[in-house]
């Protein structure tokens, strides 16, 4: 789905991008995919909000689609800009015995335990 043109001083950011988006319709997501993403994310989305959300997500995904133009053959993914090995430390207890502090902010707690909804029937 095509995005609306934004105000004039940023139109250049979008102008040629709209012409080079061959995949956008193929990659747009349907309502079921929005439902699935919401389920994966554990966010309850009311049924009546789904179409608007679908439009917003497709707007964002259509814009992201321009990454398909980049030649990334042979390029290793970059996950972190810190070029170092993860530091090792001695396997010693550094902290602990702070149960009261750990549960202090719990919505429900009793005797240093979190009270949670029943998980196993």
């Amino acid at each position: 789905m095509a995005r609306q043109v934004c105000c004039a001083d940023r139109a250049w950011l979008l102008a040629d991008e709209r012409q080079t988006r061959p995949h956008e319709s193929q990659m747009s997501i349907d309502l079921d995919t929005v439902r699935k993403a919401a389920r994966l994310a554990r966010i309850a989305i009311p049924e009546e909000r789904l179409p608007a959300l679908q439009g917003e997500l497709n707007g964002i995904l259509a814009w992201i689609e321009q990454l398909q133009e980049v030649d990334i053959s042979g390029v290793a993914p970059l996950a972190s800009t810190v070029a170092m090995q993860l530091p090792m430390r001695e396997d010693l207890v550094a902290d602990g015995f702070q149960a009261a502090a750990v549960v202090r902010n719990a919505p429900k707690a009793e005797d240093d335990f979190f009270i949670v909804p029943k998980v196993v029937e």
Partner: protein, 491 residues
């Protein structure tokens, strides 16, 4: 006493050292200023006057014993992203409720180690997701600046909008902030302040509410380049509690602000100039080039060919990391819980009620791009593009010592002007987000007012670990620009 609030951090520390005023007097002046201004600006979401007075009294006592610390008695504002022991920390999200951390973030611990005084917690976009501070659960922040002959309220930028507004309105000497895609530099530019995002890893992320862990980096918003250097010197430093924290010595950044820039090569990335960009911003950029030439720099045009792909790559990487990081908000151990008929429904109702619309959008995008079948097409590709962007910078920095660009494509805008379309809001970070993806230090320096009387910033991007050159070039721009404009007080 109101004049005390107009001091720079460096001036205030000198005044305290010379015993021209006490830390308690200075703190009272800021508390009074906050009480007057905050109902209008909404920069602070929590004021901590009792804590501030106690910290100031302790600072005065140390100074009386000639044991003054580097920031002793300096009243600061703290972005609500930094956990503060015993003081509510929410990242301006309903899902954290009244979360009161039992521990202190390393960045704030460093500031208290050095004697600083906490005035309170500063407003921000929810989970630092935004460029206008309109997504805060505590309501938007108002920019102290207004257009000429206009009473219309403007946004302070985001996500560190509270930090920016508080510094510009003289409600604190300086503030902590954080920057994932431009959240220090863009608001600093919108309010005529200085902001620096250091090299990724300079500041510990321990105790900072996580948004996108490979991009998040703390830094200050301050009134001058020198003040920013003083702040960063305290905030930065190695921390074993953050595995990405750099174990490297900290250069003398305050000294760097006095260093000559003569002979430095400054790159002008041609991809940051585009037809249609606001003429005033282009003109200011050209002016910045002239200022640096006059200071003895050599100007070199450079190319960063993948610039246009930075924001789309960011809007895969950042939401993907956010969707993982924000999975922790499940209503079980802290924060909001909305009970459902079973555990899953409790999760879903809690997260629906606790997260605002922009945060929900980004979590959903993240969940989608990481989901089975799409990982390679989106997330992996974005990480590959990220390496191309880093490669662009490495090639440029083989030729030049620093880059000069505008900070933003536009000045501060009005409420609601960009909220209708997520992508248009995202485009505000077009010039800042590249430094996050590549992990580079970058600073925004206020340089001019536009035709409507609003501040505009110039950005200096440095090599990894070379904040010192950012401070030197930023200072040269600051001296040449002579930017002394202040917002007309209407609050």
């Amino acid at each position: 006493m109101t004049e005390l609030t107009k001091l720079t951090l460096a001036e205030a520390l000198a005044g305290l050292d010379a015993k021209r005023f006490s830390a308690v007097e200075l703190t009272e002046a800021f508390l009074a200023a906050i009480a007057t201004a905050n109902p209008h600006l909404n920069a602070f979401v929590l004021e901590t006057p009792d804590k501030a007075r106690a910290m100031a009294a302790a600072a005065d006592a140390r100074r009386a014993r000639s044991e003054a610390l580097p920031l002793d008695g300096a009243p600061l504002g703290i972005k609500d992203l930094f956990c503060t022991e015993g003081v509510r920390t929410t990242a301006c999200s309903k899902i954290l409720g009244d979360f009161t951390p039992p521990y202190e973030s390393t960045v704030t611990a460093h500031l208290w180690r050095d004697g600083a005084v906490m005035l309170g917690k500063l407003n921000m976009d929810e989970f630092a997701m935004g460029s206008s501070n309109e997504s805060s659960a505590f309501g938007p922040v108002v920019n102290p600046w207004r257009r000429h002959a206009s009473n219309a309220s403007l946004v302070p930028g985001g996500s560190s909008g509270g930090s920016a507004s508080a510094v510009a309105a003289d409600l604190c000497l300086a503030a902590t902030a954080s920057d994932t895609g431009g959240s220090i530099r863009q608001p600093a530019a919108f309010v005529g302040a200085v902001g620096i995002k250091p090299t990724y890893g300079r500041c510990s992320r321990y105790g900072m509410v996580a948004f996108a862990s490979s991009l998040d980096q703390a830094g200050p918003i301050a009134k001058t380049v020198e003040d920013a250097a003083i702040m960063l010197a305290s905030m930065a430093g190695h921390d074993p509690k953050d595995s990405t924290s750099l174990n490297l010595p900290l250069p003398d950044w305050r000294a760097a602000t006095k260093a000559s820039v003569k002979g430095l090569k400054i790159g002008i990335p041609k991809e940051y100039r585009a037809p249609g960009m606001a003429a005033e911003i282009d003109a200011l950029w050209a002016q910045g080039v002239e200022w640096l030439k006059d200071a003895g720099c050599t100007i070199v045009e450079v190319s960063l060919p993948h610039t246009r792909y930075a924001l789309p790559a960011y809007y895969i990487v950042a939401p993907a990391e956010a969707s993982s990081n924000l999975a922790r908000y499940d209503g079980m151990r802290y924060g909001l819980r909305v009970a459902g008929k079973d555990l899953t429904e409790t999760y879903e109702q809690t997260r629906a009620a606790g997260f605002g619309p922009e945060v929900q959008r980004r979590i959903l995008i993240g969940a989608y791009v990481l989901s089975a079948g799409y990982y390679d097409a989106y997330y992996l590709r974005a990480q590959q593009v990220r390496r191309k962007i880093l490669g662009d910078f490495e090639a440029a920095f083989a030729q030049v010592d620093a880059l000069l660009t505008p900070t933003c494509p536009n000045p501060a805008f009005g409420f609601g002007e960009k909220s209708g379309d997520p992508v248009e809001m995202y485009l505000n970070d077009i010039f800042t987000v590249t430094a996050n993806l590549a992990g580079l230090p970058a600073m925004s320096v206020p340089a001019a007012l536009d035709g409507q009387g609003l501040p505009l910033g110039l950005q200096v991007i440095g090599r990894a670990l070379d904040e010192a050159t950012c401070f030197a070039v930023g200072s040269a721009l600051e001296r040449a620009a002579g930017f002394t404009a202040r917002p007309t007080r209407w609050w």
